[in-house]
Structures are given as C-alpha cells and as structure tokens.
C-alpha cells in the first residue's frame, strides 16, 4: 500500500488543523467563552485522521463517544460550524442544542458524539443492521474509549454484530486511561482487542500514533469488512496529551510519562517523516502552520459572530413531524 506524497500532506494538514483547533478551544474554554464539559483530542489526531480517511467519507457511517470535536472536521465539516456548536450558537452543527459531546451531521453521516460511555455501540450495531438489511456496500466506524469495553452494552452489541454478521468496525481508542483510571486496573487483558474472542469475532491492534500506519492498517480492515460483512474489534493505541477533560488535574500519571509521550507526538512523527522523506521542507511546514491558524481564526470569527438560538427554538425538534 503506497501512500502518495499528496495524501501525506493532506493528513498532516488535517492533523495540524485539528491540533490548532483544539488548542484554540482550550483557550476559549478557560476564557469561559463556553461551558459544559470539554474533552480535547490533542495527541490522538493520527488515530482520527488515519481511520476516517480510510472510509468513503459521506457514505460510510461514523459514530463516536464524547471526544468528538475534530472527527467531523476530518470528515469535512467546517471548523467554524463545530466551534459554533461549542459556543452554543444557532449556526452550530446541532444548532446549539448538542454541545461539546453531541456533534452531528446527517450529510457527513456522522451519527453523533454520545455522552453515555458505551451507549453508542448498540447504535452502531443498528446501523450495521441497516447496511446488512438493505445489502449496502457500506461500513460503520464506531469509536469508543478504552474504558467502554467494560460496559454491558458494549458486550451485548458486539455479540449481536457477531451473530448477525454486521459490517461494524468498533475502534477502541486506547489512550490508556478511562478518565483517571488506568485501563490496566480495570481490565486483565493485555490486548483490549481480545474482548472480541468472547464473540468469536475478528480483531486487530493498530498503530494509532503514526498516521501512515493507522491509515494503511485501517484501509485493509475497512475493505475487508465491506467485503465480508463481518464485524471487527480494533484496538488503536494512542495517548491523549491533555487531561480527560479540562478539569483534569492529572495526578494519576507522572510528568515524565506525559513528557515522554510528548516526544512521541503523532504530529512530530509525521513531520519528521515528511522532512526525512523530503515530502516537505520546513518552509512548507511553516506555511501550513499559518494556514491552520488562519482557518482556526476564521472559525472563531464565524462562531463568535453567529447568533444564539432563539428562545422560540426551545420546543422545536422534541418530536419529529
């Protein structure tokens, strides 16, 4: 599997945009420009970019947990629309009714960020059911955190995916901690993908730090799933460089560990690769940096100047017509 130079650049720009976006989100949050919970994707960009570029965007379905700010951007959503949702504006992707944990896009087939750990896995099974029911040539990616593997609904859903052969790809974004609890304290498996064994289901462990690996491994998994209509449980190894949420004091892990991971940052890995492979020069990196920052500024401008939802919208969308 050969990744073109152009693809490499696109991945880098996407990851960079996601990184700068989340950094801005973090600033706005501490400036109290918006409220609620705020879970950042910083450190995990390679995972999102690699996986989401391996599917047919806008055709294959994606569903996720609550660390969901940047996945829609990778799928093609205007960052301004995501930021507008964070700022609870009517121009947000859920018109200010969703918030940080509930990004949605029907046109991108992004079925939402979801706030109940593991609750989206049965939903993914339902989407897989629909694909199989209508014999479509599609898959669904379902992102979950590592701690979701201990939820009953995760197991119920995996079992259903297996018995009914549903084209569901459940991706465990293993960043090693469920909030402040190390996964090793809540699961005896050394490989989380082994949860699939109980359901006689395919499994894979992929590299979630090097986007080129993530992409190539996922591409294979996606196409295999599409072809066989068999579910798979994928463990993608990653690390979040920020806290679980903005209010995380981070006592559960050492400074050294975080520092170590910073040196292993997915953006740096790709940057080094591009320089060494002469895909890009430092001037290119700088110009993309400028581009990413200006994209984020545009997003801030759009979201800041957008109107709040009307009070009269309160009762709209409770029930469908």
């Amino acid at each position: 599997m050969k990744i073109t130079k152009q693809q490499c650049i696109e991945f880098y720009k996407d990851m960079l945009l996601c990184r700068r976006f989340e950094e801005k989100v973090s600033q706005l949050y501490v400036q109290q420009r918006f409220g609620g919970f705020c879970h950042l994707y910083i450190g995990q960009e390679a995972l999102g970019t690699g996986c989401l570029n391996a599917i047919r965007k806008g055709k294959d379905y994606v569903i996720s947990g609550y660390r969901d700010h940047t996945q829609p951007i990778t799928l093609g959503m205007d960052p301004g629309v995501v930021l507008a949702e964070l700022l609870a504006k009517s121009t947000g992707c859920a018109q200010g009714k969703g918030g940080s944990m509930h990004m949605f896009s029907k046109s991108l087939r992004y079925l939402g960020g979801h706030g109940i750990v593991g609750g989206q896995v049965p939903l993914a099974a339902g989407v897989g059911w629909k694909i199989a029911y209508e014999k479509e040539d599609l898959v669904i990616l379902c992102f979950i955190g590592d701690a979701a593997i201990n939820q009953g609904q995760f197991h119920e859903a995996l079992n259903m995916c297996a018995i009914w052969k549903l084209p569901v790809i459940v991706i465990i974004e293993n960043n090693l901690y469920g909030m402040g609890t190390a996964i090793s304290r809540t699961c005896t498996l050394s490989s989380l993908a082994d949860r699939a064994k109980g359901y006689n289901m395919r499994q894979a462990v992929i590299d979630g730090r090097n986007v080129l690996n993530t992409y190539t491994q996922m591409l294979e998994i996606v196409e295999e799933t599409r072809k066989t209509c068999q579910p798979i449980l994928v463990e993608a190894q990653t690390y979040r460089l920020r806290g679980h949420s903005m209010s995380d004091p981070g006592h559960y892990r050492s400074k050294e560990e975080v520092e170590n991971e910073r040196n292993n940052d997915c953006l740096k890995i790709l940057e080094n690769h591009m320089i060494s492979q002469k895909i890009a020069q430092s001037e290119d990196i700088e110009s993309w940096e400028d581009w990413a920052i200006s994209e984020v500024e545009k997003a801030v401008e759009f979201a800041s100047t957008s109107p709040e939802p009307e009070l009269s919208d309160l009762y709209s969308n409770v029930l469908a017509p």
């Binding site: 949605f104 939402g112 989407v127 629909k130 079992n159 469908a320 017509p321």
Partner: protein, 327 residues
C-alpha cells in the same frame, strides 16, 4: 367486522405494516421460531423470513439500541420486549438515546421506532414481573407512549405508531392478549394523542387506560344499574401526549374527576392529570379529584395480596361515592 383477540389484532397491525413498508422489521426475544413468548408474532417468521422477524439474544439494552441505530438511518424497527419489566434494562437506550436523538441533533436524526410489549401485573408473577413503568417513561420528552388493550384500538394505534417518526413506547397487557373485540375488516388508523370516550355519562369523569379500563367499565355498569350513577369513562389510549382537551371538556360537564391507574401513585400519570384539571377546570370542580392506584409495595406473590395491591372494584366505587358526596 371480525372478532379478534388483542394478540391477533396486534399481529395484524404488524403484518399489514410489514407488507406495506419493507423498512419495517420485528426484533425481540422469541419473536421468531417460538412464535412470540405470548404468541403475538405467531406466523410472522414464516411470512417474512428471519431477516425481518428476528430472534434476539437476551440483551434488552443491546437490541433496543440496535433499533435506535437502525431507525436513525432509515429503518423502522419494531422492538418487542418480552415484558416492560425487562425493558428497564434498556432504559438507557430508551431515555438517553431514543428520546434525545432528534433534539440533540437539532432534527437531523429522527428515531422512527416502536418498542412494544406487555405492561403491568399479570397473575402471581411476583415483584420483578408485575410492574408499571408508564409513569416513568411519560416523563421523558421525545417519547410517545401508547397504552391500550382493546383489540380495535390496539390495531389502529400500533399501525399509527409504526408509521410515526418518533420512538413510540407501546404498552399492552399480558392478561388481556386473549381479550376479544370487534375489529373492522377494512384498513384503518387511530391517531396518536387522542383519547376515546368509552362510556358516555354525566355524573363523573373517570380517566383510565390499559387494563384498568375494563375494571372501570364493569364498575360503571354496576353503579348505573344499582345506584343510577352515570359514569363517563375516558380511555386515554395515548398517555404521552395526553388528550387533555377531552378530559377538560368532560370534567366541565360532570364537575368530578377520578383517575384509575395501575401502578404506584407517586408522581404518576394520575397526579399529572389531576394537576392539569385542577389548574384548567378549577371553577368547574365540585369535589376534590380522586385517584385509585396500587398500594405502595412491591408486588407480593400471594394471589389475595396481589389483588389487594391493584386497584379494586371496591376502591373505585368508594372514590366515585366520595366524589358524589354519597356516604
């Protein structure tokens, strides 16, 4: 008109809708090869095959959630719960996912799904199998809740529920699956959100639903014959949203309200109805509204004790007399 059991009326409704719309499928425990734990789906597997009449593992949260996901992308699942007691396992999917999706996606993803099954006490099933959850799920914006036992109503309402674009919780009754009634031969729908006056009367308004309707009809007949008391009975049929106008109109005529409901009486549907009536019909009331509901205990196994927990004829009659100031 044919005489059908509740079970057959529900079966007809599902069968007709599955013929009409290939996006409709039925999933639940024992709905296929076993022909349904209560035989509601009898014969449907043969008719529609295992892709559309699906035996699920015993994973209520799982297959309820599967229904939500499938509905979000365009299918119209009917999820059968063997009983609503088991559906409590799926409350996360019902409350956190089904009910919220349309709103939190600002109208991008609707959930056209029916979750149906028997509700309330049957006979000597003990504490875990005899509960009413209706008052819990009516308090969730984003859900429609239907509760009915009359074959004709059940058929028309289930068909409407399947065609509705929202999650509809459909509550039946285990004891009354064999209850017979006339069902029109031609196709018909009954709109959701509308109640039905099952007995015209002028002395008191009795609001009820599901199997308490039958108890109420019996009591009304008896009081009419023996004491010339004329009870008007409103069968709500849909308990979220409630047909308030029908209740208000009747109370303005009779000046007295009684709600007979199965289930516990704390923060119940009856409470809500009384609240609405006191607010909207205050100057029309001639007596404080009355409610009859379950004793506030888990359901005992013993038959006599069980009968005492549920609303009884004697309690309903007493409440009616209280309303009429007859001692």
């Amino acid at each position: 008109m044919a005489i059908l059991t509740l079970r057959d009326a529900l079966n007809q409704a599902m069968t007709e809708e599955m013929i009409r719309d290939p996006k409709v499928f039925l999933m639940g425990e024992e709905v296929g090869e076993y022909n349904g734990a209560y035989k509601v789906s009898k014969g449907m597997l043969e008719k529609f095959g295992p892709e559309r009449v699906v035996d699920s593992p015993i994973s209520e949260a799982g297959f309820a959630g599967l229904g939500v996901g499938a509905a979000m992308v365009g299918l119209r699942p009917i999820i059968e719960m063997m009983t609503w007691n088991f559906a409590i396992q799926a409350f996360d999917q019902i409350i956190n996912h089904a009910a919220k999706m349309y709103y939190m996606s600002a109208g991008q993803f609707s959930v056209p799904m029916v979750i149906r099954g028997p509700h309330g006490a049957a006979r000597m099933l003990g504490a875990q199998h005899s509960q009413c959850v209706d008052h819990m799920i009516v308090n969730i914006p984003g859900l429609i809740v239907v509760s009915t036992v009359i074959p004709k109503d059940a058929k028309g309402l289930l068909k409407s529920s399947i065609r509705n674009n929202n999650p509809v919780m459909f509550l039946e009754s285990e004891l009354l699956y064999g209850y017979e009634g006339e069902v029109p031969d031609e196709e018909y729908l009954i709109p959701l959100g509308k109640g039905d006056i099952k007995r015209k009367g002028k002395d008191i308004t009795l609001v009820t639903w599901n199997k308490m309707l039958l108890l109420s009809l019996d009591v009304a007949q008896k009081l009419w014959e023996t004491e010339n008391i004329d009870v008007e009975i409103i069968d709500l049929m849909t308990i979220q949203p409630i047909d308030e106008d029908l209740i208000f109109e009747s109370v303005r005529k009779t000046h007295r309200l009684l709600v007979v409901e199965e289930g516990w009486g704390v923060a119940s549907i009856g409470c809500h109805i009384v609240d609405r009536v006191v607010k909207e019909c205050f100057d029309d009331l001639d007596a404080p509204p009355e409610r009859v509901f379950n004793h506030f205990v888990p359901m005992p196994y013993n038959k006599t004790l069980e009968a005492e927990v549920l609303p009884t004829e004697a309690r309903v009659i007493q409440s009616i007399k209280n309303l009429l100031y007859i001692s």
